[in-house]
Amino acid sequence: MIIRHRATTGTRTLLLFAIGILLITARVEAGSGGSVYSRFGIGDLSRTTSPELYGLGGTGLAVSPIGSVNDMNPAAWAGIGKVRFSAGAVYEGFSTTDGSSSVYLAATRFDGLTFAIPISPDNGITFASGLIPYSRVNYNIVVPETRSGLDYTMTYRGNGGISRAFAGFSATITTGFHAAARFEYLFGTLSYSMTQAFGTSSYSGASLVRSENVSGFGSTVGVLLDGLGAVLGMAEDRSLALGLTFSPATYPTSETERVYRYGATPSPSPPDSISEGERSFRLPFSFGSGLSYNSPNLLLALDARYQEWGRTGFETPAGVRLRNSVRLSAGARISRSADPNLSSSRRVTYAFGLFHESGCLEVNNTPIRENGITAGISFPILNETRLSFAASFSLRGSTDNLLQEDKIFRISASMDIAELWFQRPVEE
């Protein structure tokens, strides 16, 4: 077997992208914050790391991306014909207001990497793996307070998140019917800190960092029926696809640790650390269904996702309740042509989408909902290797009932490399 290796003429672009990823991930620690809503549950949930799908409003259950690996429905891997590797980064800006004060906080971070290796393209057998975010906690609040006649400043900071490492296979069961399963390992640390600082040396402040170290296993199964167009008598160059996914409830463990640091304790005295042991919590099942219509230059897609957060058993503070979440999204992708023999400019795709999410949070008897619009662009830089970008703007929550309204700006980018590996050369 000869491994076919092709020297890329887009080396400069790849190098720049790699540097960009490094810079972005280096800035993750310096990110200044996000939304206080990520304080609850396991944080803000990540829907997809693929800008191609995010540009469609986060719609992808019945979509086969052109360049990236579908991380929403593994059954879409069956259509992958070349080895794919995707790595991306995301910038999130939160313009928040609670009616009396406003702030704009932003952060950038690494947004996962995925790869897929088609083993038997004719049979839709593809192995895919990756590391993608599942949730993220990110807030930063500074409050001047006066209690018991003392003036001090409280800083509340949340960071970290749960990541998901996955690996799985897809297969074509029969023509137009693909199925897949992936196994997931969930891990990560959710960190919540509060720091008290006095303006005078007469008093000593302190800080508490509560860390939840989460680990556990999960899984997702998916099917993709992409031959519905033929059944319905559509023209040969058009298709209709139905995608379904199901992630059963899983029970990760969480080990809680509280670390107190007291200002009065002379340095370098170690901080006080209290381990509260391990407990298990229920990460609820989710179900999703999507529909897509494909024509040579247009893709229309529609998704609905449901997750049963109301039965997680999570301890929530007073006034906060977790409830079942529903996400609806729709998108359209316009492409002039997918023919790899055409010039790059003729293979650029544009995506638009919108979404509504009735999220898992209910605060002060008010459901937290999010509505947004998205746009994306994906263009080839070398053969089928693509650069993809997506941007979105959404509104979450409101200032009613002492709540907070978030205006969320999001820009994601990924490099999606597609190459032929493990191909037998044509014998002369």
Binding site: G10, R12, T13, L16, F17, G20, L23, I24, R27, A30, S32, V36, A89, Y91, G93, T96, D98, S101, V103, Y104, L105, A107, T108, I141, V142, V143, P144, R147, S148, M154, T155, Y156, Y192, M194, Q196, S202, Y203, S204, G205, A206, L208, R258, Y260, Y262, A264, T265, P266, D272, I274, G319, V320, V363, N364, F379, L387, F389, L402, L403, Q404, A413
Partner: protein, 376 residues
């Protein structure tokens, strides 16, 4: 005109993302209303539950050495000198020990009589105690002083026996002890070899005649004082006695703080019993407070010493200090063995400071006012 590829523009856009995050504003209170995390600030005052006075002999690095006797105290000092090579044919004409007066008790001074004896036992300033006196010196005096040391006097001169000086000069070293005589009615202190100013240190001047007459001037190379006395027993009052010394351990057993309490401030106050105080103008009317690490006598495992300064509030004299470090340690990782109190001038004076103890009335008991934050 060269056209910049779109891909390069796109990648440069990505590169700019990290810097876009730098456009963030400073975090503020937006969203704080729905944060469940909050802390509680509480203040409580706890009073001492017990106190124990005990004797701890002083030693070591004393910058003032004491000699004298009062009806309550007796103090003796030891000095050591070293000498260069000596021509044994030379004649020793005289020897004078000069001591710079830096402390008097009582303040106005009084009659002082003492003899100088040659030390016959080996000694070190770090180990020699009042209990080490027996058989440590030659009972035959090698010099004596008798006079009145008043506040106007700045120096005491004592003539030393020349035969003793000859032995010291031949040996290259020698040491002495100053022992007060029964006729003494006061104690005076003089600068030790540890004082920064050379002119304050004890000096031995020896007149030597060889081919000509010369003065050999030697500063003391080591010194220590030891003292003894009886502290009066006054119910409800703690006596903190310098020089000997009497210290006190004060317990705060009723302290109960919640887990995770962050001590913002812990102000310690102890009320002075001025009726029993005895101090001179050269004294430092301040207490040293230390964190006790070991319950067992002699309670010499102490750390984190701080000071309690005198203040007068509403006509009441108090000593006040900050104990937040101690209370924080008690609240988290260390057992509560109480605090140790001693006078700041313990190593340099015979001052006595009286304070009200745990057995006094509630309003006079030692107390700690603790302000703490309770984290969730």
């Amino acid at each position: 005109m060269t056209r910049i590829p779109f891909s390069v523009v796109a990648v440069l856009t990505i590169l700019s993302l990290p810097f876009a995050a730098g456009c963030s504003g400073d975090p503020n209170s937006s969203g704080a209303a729905i944060l469940p995390d909050s802390l509680i600030i509480e203040t409580r005052t706890t009073t001492a539950t017990a106190d124990t006075g005990f004797l701890e002999r002083v030693r070591g690095n004393q910058t003032t050495l004491l000699v004298g006797k009062t009806p309550e105290y007796e103090a003796r000092s030891l000095l050591r000198f070293s000498f260069p090579a000596f021509d044994t044919l030379a004649r020793i004409d005289s020897g004078i020990l000069k001591l710079r007066v830096t402390y008097r008790l009582p303040e106005g001074g009084g009659a002082v009589e003492f003899d100088v004896h040659e030390m016959t036992a080996a000694w070190s300033s770090l180990t020699f105690l009042w209990d080490s006196l027996t058989d440590s010196f030659d009972p035959t005096p090698a010099g004596s002083f008798s006079g009145t040391v008043t506040s106007a006097d700045t120096m005491v001169r004592v003539r030393i026996d020349t035969s003793l000086l000859r032995r010291w000069l031949v040996a290259g070293t020698g040491s002495l002890m100053m022992i007060p005589a029964p006729g003494s009615a006061s104690v005076f202190g003089f600068g030790s070899h540890l004082t920064a100013a050379d002119s304050i240190q004890p000096v031995l001047e020896v007149m030597v005649t060889d081919t000509s007459t010369a003065t050999l001037r030697r500063n003391a190379v080591s010194g220590v004082f030891v003292a003894d006395g009886t502290a009066p027993v006054i119910p409800g009052t703690i006596l903190l006695q310098s020089g000997i010394a009497y210290r006190s351990r004060i317990m705060f057993d009723s302290l109960s703080l919640p887990t995770g309490a962050s001590i913002a401030q812990a102000s310690f106050e102890i009320t002075a019993d001025t009726a029993v105080a005895a101090a001179s103008r050269a004294s430092r009317d301040t207490l040293t407070v230390s964190f006790i690490q070991d319950r067992a006598y002699p309670i010499d495992s102490i750390v984190l010493s701080g000071l309690c300064y005198p203040v007068t509030e509403n006509g009441v004299r108090l000593y006040r200090g900050e104990l937040k470090t101690y209370v924080q340690l008690w609240a988290t990782r260390e057992p509560n063995f109480g605090i140790l109190l001693r006078p700041l001038g313990e190593l340099t004076t015979l001052d006595r400071i009286g304070v009200y103890g745990a057995a006094s009335v509630d309003s006079l008991k030692p107390r700690i006012r603790i302000t703490y934050s309770r984290f969730p």
